[in-house]
């Protein structure tokens, strides 16, 4: 239940920021959205199994589903790459001495 609330909070704040002015806020908003979705994917494996999928950890209860973790890892890296690209766009805008207002095409 708290998981759902965490995800809800992250997605809500992320959405709010994404819809605001300023590309920086938009980028941060996407970061938050990404966190929310990553947590969502992770819980798809089930939060009743929380053991590490590593040697020597058998004492921690049932082991967690490794597949969503791999998904999230991949997604995190991809998101990082795209975030970097977005920040590159931001820097490009700065170099052109633009008003950093996240204006779309006019």
């Amino acid at each position: 239940m708290t998981t759902a609330v965490v995800v809800a909070l992250l997605v809500a704040t992320g959405t709010w920021l994404v819809l605001r002015r300023g590309l920086l806020r938009v980028v941060v908003g996407f970061v938050l959205l990404g966190h929310g979705v990553n947590l969502l994917v992770l819980t798809a494996g089930g939060t009743d199994r929380r053991g590490f999928a590593l040697p020597g950890q058998q004492g921690g209860g049932p082991v967690a589903d490794p597949l969503p973790q791999a998904f999230v890892l991949t997604a995190v890296v991809i998101a990082f790459a795209v975030t970097v690209h977005l920040l590159g766009l931001l820097r490009q805008g700065q170099a052109l001495d633009e008003d950093d207002d996240a204006e779309g095409p006019s």
């Binding site: 708290t2 998981t3 759902a4 965490v6 995800v7 909070l9 997605v11 809500a12 959405t15 709010w16 920021l17 994404v18 819809l19 605001r20 002015r21 300023g22 920086l24 806020r25 938009v26 941060v28 970061v31 938050l32 990553n38 947590l39 969502l40 992770l42 819980t43 798809a44 089930g46 939060t47 009743d48 199994r49 929380r50 999928a53 040697p55 082991v63 967690a64 490794p66 597949l67 973790q69 791999a70 890892l73 991949t74 995190v76 890296v77 991809i78 790459a81 795209v82 970097v84 920040l87 590159g88 766009l89 820097r91 700065q94 170099a95 008003d99 950093d100 207002d101 996240a102 779309g104």
Partner: protein, 927 residues
């Protein structure tokens, strides 16, 4: 039959070449060709006139059941001959009308293509083929119209849109007919009308067919495109818009009569539309002063009579319609040609200028008079005979008692008006003052028109020649009926009386023409063309307003839409799923409530802050909380990666901030309009996400795949870090692709951040000594740690990503400390910079990763299949390590690209107060 079409096609293709050699004399060649094609068809006549048919077909689109099927029966013979004979006349006329230069242009080939299309249309025995030729004629008409220049733009547009709209109606009819009758073969469909009539689609089909015919044959209210089309050159008007293209609709209606002739709604609709058109057209013709305009409106009117006759649907009426089709084509084309001659001679097409031609151009005047008399329906011209038969058809119309007299009365009225304007033309030819400066045109110029005019006169008494043809055609349209006998003199019958009345009324109108003119001038008819144009502009304006949504300037407007849809989906999902969910097996994560509180506070602050620094810091905090939670659910590698990514993101954000403003615009602008919807949307999206998480996750047992992986990973791959084995062995393809992706961003970043004003100018504060010393110590440690992490990733937390991110941290440290650069001022590229060239690293890393993935294919394995390197296995070197090495290189390339790309500060905007002020000023101006 096929030969005729092929001949026409060949002529069309050859026309440009011929024109280059022969100039405008090509017209004669083409004329002869048309006659030859007509001859080919006439040669088949014996088989057809007895009531039979000639067929040929070949499959075209078998998957849709469409064949290219042709069929020559009496009806198609009539129309084909009309098209070809009139075409021959027009071509001969073109040989003198056109100049050599325009003969080399597109007109002649287009006219030939059009003729082929027209013949193909009437010969087509497959619905789709018919539609193809139908649209082809429309296209030819548009092309010919457009060649008239800039003044033709609007008329061409009207003509095209109206006729294509009709064509689309025909397409719907084709689709529905095929559905109702199960086939696209016209002859099959017509042979069993009950099949189509019994289907509920019959009425839509009839309506669509009628619409198509109305658009093509210029019936009310779609008739206004035809007068506008008179801007085209005269041969085009003579051929297309008088004799052939507009007759395509007539052909369609006659064919459809086989199905619908006895259905009352069909009859009523056709007669009503036809008569209305006939009357309105005739009135408009009387009002006109432009000769071509008169002829255009006259065509509309005559077509209306034809449609009405088809609507009556008796064999007599149909026969009359067919006869009148031929007669009309003949006299109308003649009149157009003569108008063209007169226009060339006198320079004017105004009927008020036309007078006293009989002295200067006697032969021309005579021909004009003959053709006009045929149009007026004066004996013994062919036009008289066909009009008689039309009257006969109307008088014997079936149905309630008032129908026949009403129809006859309308017909008489229309014909009287026709008589009136025809007489004006005759008067113009013979009456009034002379124009001695005019002269007879060359005989070859006049010949085609003269021949046609004479034919109109002679064919009247000789009309029984047409009997077998009309017979065959009527039998084809109404199988099993008794066709009318066609002969010249009927004796003193109702029709003759009606003709007499017509002549009397018409003469009266002509004699009183001044009064009539004054009355007509006061008559105001709706300007249909103007309505069309207004509609067209309205459509464009509507489009502009609809499209405004996509031109919204702010990002938020575009981003809001998917988010809104997701929120709606959340609602829908909640409603749809209701209580139909399996039991929840998930349990609470220890320590989560604390995290929740911290998170909520951090997020709230982040949502409202206006300081970029605070925002970045809060993002880092949130990332930390999320990472901790991930550890709590047993995701070790993921948490570690996330943490490192967070750190690097924060670093990049700081580097970016160095070049920009530290104060963001306020979260909620003073106007505040956008904030409420955004807030609502945020709540909606968040709720949807939360609901989705609660409802759709954590309600099932461990998945089969997950269980398989946990049980078999070590055995199959040799690694004990199951998540890592999933990444590099089981789902190596994903990892390969994401690494490539990382490399792409790396190389792109370089291109993105080069350039710009005064790039490369460094903001070079001398870095702190502590930082420099620390970097010299920590950076190599970081690299070492990264290698260790890379090495042990298969069995312990670690791996390519994590290792690379740690190495990246080292690179960042080095950059921040400035120890990797060459000595200040020398501009020498440091060794470290050369080593970490993003493009080189990305390319090399990609090759290593892809190569390792591809290698198993060499010995017949699968892509990304794990293998052990012989000899080095003892050292723990497996394909996984090699693969991870490639990944490592790619991720490091990204970090290096970041450092290079963001490390330089653009000279334009210093990150201090003056910049902020300037930014604020500009923002003021923008607002």
């Amino acid at each position: 039959m096929v030969a005729a079409l092929v001949l026409l096609a060949a002529l069309a293709a050859g026309a440009p070449l011929l024109a280059r050699r022969l100039g405008r004399a090509t017209g004669y060649v083409l004329s002869a060709g048309f006659l030859a094609a007509a001859g080919l068809l006439v040669a088949l006549a014996p088989r057809v006139l007895g009531g039979g048919a000639v067929e040929a077909s070949t499959p075209w689109l078998p998957s849709l059941g469409v064949e290219a099927a042709l069929r020559l029966d009496g009806l198609s013979l009539v129309f084909a001959l009309v098209a070809l004979v009139v075409g021959a006349l027009v071509m001969a006329y073109c040989a003198r009308y056109l100049s050599d230069a325009s003969a080399r242009g597109p007109v002649l080939p287009l006219l030939t293509v059009f003729a082929a299309a027209m013949v193909g249309l009437v010969l087509a025995d497959d619905l789709v083929l018919l539609y193809l030729f139908w649209e082809l004629t429309t296209l030819c008409s548009f092309a010919l119209l457009s060649s008239a220049g800039a003044k033709a733009v609007a008329p061409a547009r009207r003509a095209l849109v109206i006729t294509i709209a009709g064509g689309l109606a025909l397409l719907v009819a084709v689709v529905l007919l095929a559905l109702a009758g199960g086939t696209t073969r016209i002859s099959v469909l017509l042979a069993e009308p009950e099949v189509v009539l019994g289907s509920p689609l019959a009425w839509p089909v009839a309506a669509c067919v009628l619409l198509a015919a109305m658009s093509k044959s210029a019936q009310l209210p779609l008739q206004f495109w035809l007068p506008g089309a008179m801007v085209a050159m005269t041969p085009v008007s003579a051929y297309l818009h008088a004799a052939t293209m507009v007759k395509a609709g007539i052909y369609l209606l006659v064919r459809a009569s086989t199905l619908f002739a006895e259905q009352t709604p069909w009859q009523v609709a056709l007669v009503a539309v036809g008569m209305a058109t006939a009357l309105v057209g005739a009135v408009m013709a009387l009002r006109e002063h432009d000769l071509k305009g008169i002829l255009a409106h006259s065509t509309v009117s005559q077509l209306g009579l034809l449609v009405a006759a088809i609507g009556v649907g008796t064999p007599t009426a149909l026969g009359a319609a067919l006869l009148h089709t031929m007669a009309h084509a003949l006299f109308k084309a003649t009149l157009f040609m003569l108008v063209g001659i007169i226009d060339k001679e006198t320079g004017s097409r105004d009927i008020r200028d036309l007078s006293g031609l009989r002295r200067a151009m006697p032969w021309t005047a005579a021909a004009t008079a003959l053709a006009a008399l045929s149009m007026a329906g004066v004996p013994p011209a062919l036009g008289f005979v066909s009009k008689e038969y039309l009257y006969q058809g109307f008088v014997s119309a079936p149905g309630p008692a008032w129908v026949a007299p009403a129809a006859a009365a309308c017909a008489v009225t229309a014909s009287a008006l026709t008589f009136a304007y025809s007489m004006r033309i005759v008067w113009g030819a013979f009456g009034g003052p002379d124009h001695p400066e005019l002269y007879e045109p060359a005989r070859s110029f006049l010949a085609p028109a003269a021949v046609a005019a004479a034919a109109g006169l002679l064919l009247g008494p000789a009309v029984s020649l047409f009997d077998p043809l009309v017979d065959a055609a009527t039998s084809a349209a109404l199988p099993g009926s008794v066709p009318p006998r066609i002969y010249f003199w009927h004796g003193l019958s109702t029709e003759v009386v009606l003709s007499g009345v017509t002549v009397a009324l018409g003469s009266l109108l002509f004699w009183q023409r001044d009064r009539v003119d004054r009355a007509l001038v006061r008559l105001r008819l709706p300007d249909a063309g103007g309505i069309f144009d207004a509609g067209h502009s309205g459509l464009l304006a509507l489009g502009g307003r609809v499209g405004a949504g996509t031109r919204a300037p702010s990002l938020a407007a575009h981003l809001a839409r998917p988010l809104a849809v997701v929120a709606v989906l959340g609602v829908v999902g909640a409603v749809a799923l209701g209580g139909a969910l399996p039991e929840r097996t998930a349990t609470a994560v220890p320590g989560e409530p604390v995290l929740l509180v911290v998170l909520a506070v951090a997020l709230a602050c982040a949502a409202v802050t206006s300081s970029a620094v605070v925002l970045v810091a809060l993002v880092g905090l949130v990332g930390l909380v999320v990472a901790v939670r991930m550890v709590l659910v047993g995701a070790a590698d993921v948490a570690l990666t996330l943490l490192l990514v967070e750190v690097l993101t924060a670093v990049v954000l700081v580097l970016v901030l160095r070049g920009g403003r530290l104060h963001l615009p306020p979260v909620v602008r003073s106007a505040g309009r956008g904030a409420v919807p955004a807030g609502l949307l945020a709540v909606g999206a968040g709720t949807a996400a939360g609901l989705g998480t609660w409802a759709l996750t954590g309600r099932r047992e461990l998945s089969a795949t997950g269980a398989y992986l946990l049980d078999n990973a070590e055995e199959l791959t040799g690694g004990t870090n199951v998540v890592n084995t999933v990444l590099v062995d089981f789902r190596g393809l994903d990892t390969l692709l994401e690494s490539v992706l990382v490399g792409v961003v790396a190389i792109g970043l370089g291109a993105l951040t080069r350039g710009g004003p005064a790039s490369g100018r460094e903001v070079r504060e001398r870095p702190d000594v502590v930082l420099r010393v620390a970097s010299r110590v920590l950076a190599p440690l970081a690299v070492l740690a990264s290698v260790v992490l890379l090495w042990r990733g298969h069995d312990q937390p670690g791996g390519g990503f994590i290792g690379a991110l740690v190495a990246g941290a080292g690179v960042v440290l080095v950059h921040l400390a400035g120890t990797g650069e060459g000595a200040a001022g020398t501009g020498r590229t440091g060794r470290l910079e050369r080593l970490t060239d993003p493009v080189l690293l990305a390319g090399a890393g990609a090759l290593v990763a892809v190569g390792t993935a591809l290698l198993p294919l060499v010995w017949g394995g699968a892509l990304v299949e794990p293998f052990s390197v012989p000899g080095l296995y003892a050292l723990g070197v497996s394909s996984a390590l090699l693969f991870d090495l490639g990944v490592y290189a790619l991720v490091v390339s990204l970090v290096a690209a970041c450092v290079r790309g963001f490390g330089r500060v653009p000279a334009a905007t210093p990150a201090t107060a003056p910049g902020t002020t300037r930014g604020a000023e500009r923002a003021e101006v923008v607002r």
